[in-house]
Amino acid sequence: MPEVEIPIEKWTGAVKEVKLGGGGRKEVVVGGETTLPFLTFEGSIPNPPKVAIEVYDKEPSGWPSPLLSAWGDAVKDPGTWAKKAVEFGADIICLKLLSAHPEGGDTGAAEAKAVVDKVLSAVDIPLIVIGPGVAEKDNEVLTAASEAARGQRVALGNCEEKNYRTIAAVCISDGHVAIAKTPLDINLCKQLNIMLSDIGVPLDSTIMDPDTGALGYGIEYGYSINERLRLAGLGGDAMTTLPIINHAGSEVWRQKEAKTGEGVPATWGDHEERSVVWEAVTASTVINAGCDIVVMCHPKAVERIKATIDKLMGK
């Protein structure tokens, strides 16, 4: 066999390292890679991708049975849920303040503060807090969450093009990390990063969520946007070198392949196994394209992804 020389790409950029936690809480660092995902022969990957597990601020309604049976009664209380997520291997808790949505309970600052306090005291791993996605409510509850978590460096989202200033302001003031969300568009993503940086959010305190779809529901867009951001960032464009977060789990669990157990063709196979695979494949796709934090739902899918990451990192 002749010797084959593996071509090595020389990148000029590196992904920024962003630290979460601290202040008595476990620290998790994401980003820092100087090469494309898992190409350890080409550059360094100091921080392999991390898994965040979703926890809601209220008991989920209409959840698919595989998720319900995996979590059991834990979902009745965010603190218990978060503890169980740690047992299932979460590196980070992703707390979603769904009840603040005007149509989901319309809770306010006080409730947000209470639930953040509760989750923070239940677990010692870092926290991501996501608002209900309605500008006015996001600003209200994330401001409260920010205050409650001061000194413990959580990530707050989502900053969007039309509504980012308030969230950015509290992140700067309280030393948190801002999550910048854009809809599958590299230029909008970069533009939002620039705008956040312009109003004073340091680059090492920003994570970008370029959005993704589930397997069969636009995952190629998610793959492509991650990849393009990484290629641009490693190629030297500083404004695209931030760590990437993808909400793979929630994307999967709103599709019928994951949700539906009855009235589907027998060839779809066992409901639980099918949905877990669906989530695991979606998650592994985005991490292979450059994702640094993958947010997931089902413990078995988490287990598989963690094993996959270990294998890819040569462990």
Partner: protein
Amino acid sequence: MSKFIATSAIRGAQSAVAEADELLQDALQKLGPDAPIAFKDKAGGGTTFYLPVIYGLLGHKVGKLGDLVPVVEHAKSLLPPVPSEDLWLPYLGETLDAGAATLFAFETIEGVRFAKGEQPEKRNGFEYNGPISDVQARSWGIQLVDGRMPGFAAIVGAAKSNEVAVKIVRELQSRGQLIFLCSDSSGRSMVDQLQEEGVDMGYDTYIVPFGSDTTSAIYALGFATIAALSFGGVAAGDFRRILLYNKFRCFAFVLALGPVDDRKYAAAAGAINYGFPVFADTVIPNILPTGITQFEHVVSMPFDDIPGKDDLERAERLVQRCVELRGIKIKIAKVPIPGAYGPAFEGEVVRRADLAAEFGGKGGMCFEWLRMNEMDDVEDGKIEVVGPDIDSFEEGSKVPLGIVVDVSGRKMQKDFEPVLERQMHHMLNGAEGFSHQGQRDITWIRIHKNAIAKGFTLRHIGDILHTCMHNDFGAIVDKVQVTLHSDPEKVKELMEQARVVYKERNARMSGLTDEAVDTFYSCTLCQSFAPNHVCVINPERVGLCGAYSWLDCRASFEINPNGPNQPVPKGTIIDESMGEFEGVNKFVYDHSNKNVERFTLYSLMDSPMTTCGCCECVMAIIPEANGVMIVSRDDYGMTPSGMTFTTLMATVGGGLQTPGMMGHGKTYIASKKFISVEGGIKRLVWLSKNLKEELAEELQEACEREGVPDLMDKIADGSTVTTVEELPTFLEEKGHPALTMDPII
């Protein structure tokens, strides 16, 4: 710099520092150096920022009396001498130093008062607020950053009357501006005036009475400092960034009502350090050049000289002017018209049967004219209807209408007039029951009966334009005034004037050549689906989608400097006739994911522009005819290339460079730069019939310019030729010039 102001400010600073020194020495003797100092508001809300101005600017923590000693020493060292009678200098640096010394002295004085238990102040049974607590500073600081609150007005002194005081406060509140009150003039203060009028003061009403002394003005700058430290991510002691943060992010100003004494001049000099300009309602010297503040430094607006029918109107204008001078932009949440407004109504058609009134269209007269004016000649928000209004029109009648929009703005340019004017179509169409077509003097407007029934009148056209101009173009427009003319004679007269301007604009556009500018603009709007595609838009070539001209891009860049239209400097000219520039090549390479290395602006064969997929037309070489064909998006028929528009577009789209094929905008065909490398319009052998008709005039002009006046008759279209076999025969019959030109390949 005014010598008068410099002298007064320096004198004021010297007296403030002397007073601080004296107070401090006295307190040190009586209370000792360990007497604690902690700023608190009247409710006991404290701060973790020590004495915030001293902490922010010097990085020095004051927790007890003794900590103030070095502060006073530092203030002394900053004090410049009072300018001599016979020596004239620029004074700016000295005055600013005096201002800084004043701030340290003021904060020292208030600090000592806190140590002595004299603060927050109580006077005549009224409790002043004292400094702003951290809790409140956080809540307001967030609003400052997210833009809900532009900044604050620090009001020093008393207004002309109680009535005026209340009006000023209400006007400021309506603009979301925080109001800080301090100091008096001749023993009376705004706090007294508001109290007498029963106006609530406190955090809840956004009116904070700091104290009766000018020194309490320091609490305003303390707040500004805390905002920079908390929300600007600035470290204590980094005075430069604290000052810059406030200059650019906190739209604050000082409003001095009544006579200005030395101490107030000194305080004003301190505020200017923060980029906060000072406005006075009395006669004082102006400092107009900009620099430390964003715009003018000191502006005098003698109250009684402000135009207005009474004091209340003068008060309103005073605030309006302050807001303008500080560069505060207003945002209007909702378009204030009866009936709905939104993009859902844009495509609405008003049918004849539902017609309340119609302006323009066949046989009618209607025009729209947006013009730039001097700041002082435009009154923001003024909407005037000259002539009869809608209620006096016969139902369904055709009435003449002239819409004249006067705008002004510090960043407005004459060249942006047509760009903004063209947006009126889109703005007006958002109204329910309103349809707008055309532009300039071919505007055609129809209003639905239902809209009138809801109360729509002509002035609401003005309301829509005023609101949308501010909301969409606030970055370049500061003031908008709209006049609606419905008197036939007047409309006719103004339309003639407008036509002269339209002509001038046309002439300007045709004079705007690629050679005349040193910067082109990019458009990367379509990279979401065509990642490697970059449009470069030059004056003589519209964007390939037809939606963005060079001027549009320039305005777009002013409005959104981080947006998709970025300046592309031409840089070194590589080949002018090809339209190849080093700057363009570099930009395209960097922004096409390093996929496109060369880019010519005028060639179809050598490194042509790429296409996203939005092009109005596709051009393709027809070797058999030694020329090119152009098919438009609206042409569904077959072309001599053997492909329809859709197939051709799929071939060139996606950001691939395809020599011999290219997407472009319609008007490019009539440009002087139309594939000039290959010989220009003389190469055109086949053209979609609808384009021939739509662009008949422009194309005829282009043919004449190129010395082939009868060319259009020699160009085939879908009605005469649809296959490549037919084409040479057709061209030979007509004697098309392409046949005798150099081989295109």
